[in-house]
C-alpha cells in the first residue's frame, strides 16, 4: 500500500453536470493509481485555522493518469460542498489526500462475475468509476446499474450512462425517478423497494457482486432488502454518504 499524504492539487477544469452537481478535475503532483470505488479526503482551512474535512469518491477511472475527477453535489447549508460550488475556480489549489479504502472497490478479479450497482443521487460517483474502468478493460460481465434520482435534472452522467448502455449489450441502466419522472416515462417512478430489487435480482443467473452507495438511509434499506431477498452479505458492499441527496 502506498503511503498517503496531504498534497496540494490544482483545479484543472470544472464541469457543470446537473444544476446541483459539478465535476472538478484535479491535477495531482503525487498521483497514485487508484481502484474504482476509492475516495479522496478534501480539507479546507480557514484563515483562522478552522478546518473542515469531507470525503469525495473518485469518478475517473485509473486509466486517466496524473489527475482525478471528483463529482460534488451541492447540499443546502452544506459547509464544504457550497464552498466548492461557489468559491472554487480553475487554477485554484485544493488540499487532498488519497486514494483511500480497499473495501468498496471493484477489482479486476471480479471482471468475470455479474455486477449489480445501486446508487442514490451522488452515490453514483464511485460506481461510475467502476463502469468507466469496466469499459476501458473491455469486461463483458452482466452488469446492471439501478440509479435512483429525484428528477430528470438530477441524473448525474445520464448521457454517458445511456451511451454506455447502447454500446454494451451486457450493461443495463435502470433509472427510477422518486419525485418527478420526465414526460412519457414508462419506467420506475418510486423509491427503490423490495419489488424493484426482486425484479433486478431476477436478471442475474448467479449471485452478483453488489455495490450500494448513496444517502445513509437508502443504503441501509437497500442492503437489508437485498439480504432479505437472499443475496449473501459477503456479496453486498456498502458505502454511506451521510445525509445527502434523494
Amino acid at each position: 500500500m502506498e503511503k498517503i499524504q496531504w498534497q496540494i492539487a490544482r483545479v484543472k477544469a470544472i464541469v457543470q453536470e446537473t444544476p446541483h452537481v459539478k465535476t472538478f478535475t484535479l491535477h495531482l503532483p503525487q498521483w497514485i493509481p487508484h481502484l474504482p470505488g476509492q475516495h479522496y479526503d478534501l480539507r479546507l482551512t480557514a484563515e483562522d485555522g478552522y478546518q473542515a474535512e469531507r470525503s469525495y469518491s473518485i469518478a475517473s477511472p485509473p486509466e486517466k493518469t496524473g489527475e482525478i475527477d471528483l463529482t460534488v453535489e451541492l447540499i443546502e447549508d452544506g459547509e464544504v460542498s457550497s464552498y466548492l460550488h461557489e468559491g472554487i475556480e480553475p487554477g485554484d489549489p485544493l488540499e487532498v489526500r488519497g486514494p483511500i479504502g480497499g473495501y468498496f472497490v471493484w477489482k479486476d478479479n471480479m471482471a468475470n462475475e455479474p455486477l449489480l450497482l445501486i446508487a442514490g443521487g451522488s452515490g453514483v460517483v464511485p460506481l461510475m468509476a467502476m463502469l468507466r474502468h469496466r469499459a476501458k478493460i473491455g469486461a463483458a460481465n452482466p452488469t446492471t446499474l439501478l440509479f435512483s434520482v429525484r428528477t430528470a435534472d438530477d441524473a448525474i452522467y445520464r448521457d454517458e450512462l445511456e451511451q454506455l448502455a447502447k454500446q454494451d449489450s451486457q450493461f443495463e441502466l435502470i433509472l427510477t425517478f422518486t419525485r418527478k419522472a420526465p414526460p412519457g416515462w414508462t419506467g420506475y417512478q418510486r423509491r427503490v423497494d423490495q419489488a424493484m430489487l426482486t425484479d433486478v435480482l431476477k436478471r442475474f443467473a448467479s449471485h452478483p457482486n453488489g455495490f450500494v452507495c448513496g444517502p445513509t438511509l437508502l443504503v441501509e434499506q437497500v442492503a437489508n432488502t437485498l439480504s432479505d431477498l437472499g443475496l449473501p452479505s459477503t456479496k453486498i458492499r456498502t458505502e454511506r454518504f451521510g445525509p445527502t441527496g434523494t
Binding site: 500500500m1 503511503k3 498517503i4 499524504q5 475516495h39 479522496y40 479526503d41 470525503s55 489526500r97 488519497g98 483511500i100 479504502g101 480497499g102 473495501y103 468498496f104 478479479n109 444517502p215 445513509t216 438511509l217 458492499r237 456498502t238 458505502e239 454511506r240 454518504f241 451521510g242 445525509p243
Partner: protein, 97 residues
C-alpha cells in the same frame, strides 16, 4: 417511536470508509479491509461496515450488530488519542480477497 432527531442521527451516520483516511495517516494501514471481532457481541465483521459518527469532537466507531463502542479517536494539537478497547484481541490482519 421515531422522532425527527432520531432520523437526523441515523442520516448522519457514516461507516468505516469515512474514517479510513484519518486512520491510514495515523497507522499507515488501510483499515477498511481488516477482519475483526467485536468484544461486546463477538460477531465478526469487516472494518468498513462499522458505523461511524464523525460530527462530534472526535470520531466514534460502533458495532453494526450490537452498537457497542469499538474505537474512538480524539485529535488535539499535541497529538491523537486512539482507543480501541472494543476490539477483541484477535483482530486479524487477514485481508479479504
Amino acid at each position: 417511536m421515531i422522532t425527527d432527531t432520531d432520523t437526523i442521527d441515523r442520516a448522519l451516520r457514516l461507516d468505516g470508509n469515512a474514517v479510513a483516511g484519518e486512520l491510514q495517516m495515523l497507522l499507515n494501514l488501510d483499515v477498511t479491509i481488516l477482519q475483526m471481532t467485536c468484544s461486546h457481541c463477538h460477531k465478526e465483521g469487516i472494518f468498513a461496515n462499522l458505523l461511524a459518527y464523525v460530527r462530534g469532537p472526535g470520531l466514534v466507531l460502533r458495532c453494526p450488530t450490537c452498537d457497542g463502542l469499538i474505537l474512538q479517536l480524539v485529535k488535539s494539537p499535541s497529538g491523537s488519542i486512539l482507543t480501541v478497547e472494543g476490539l477483541a484481541a484477535d483482530i486479524k490482519s487477514t485481508i479479504i480477497p
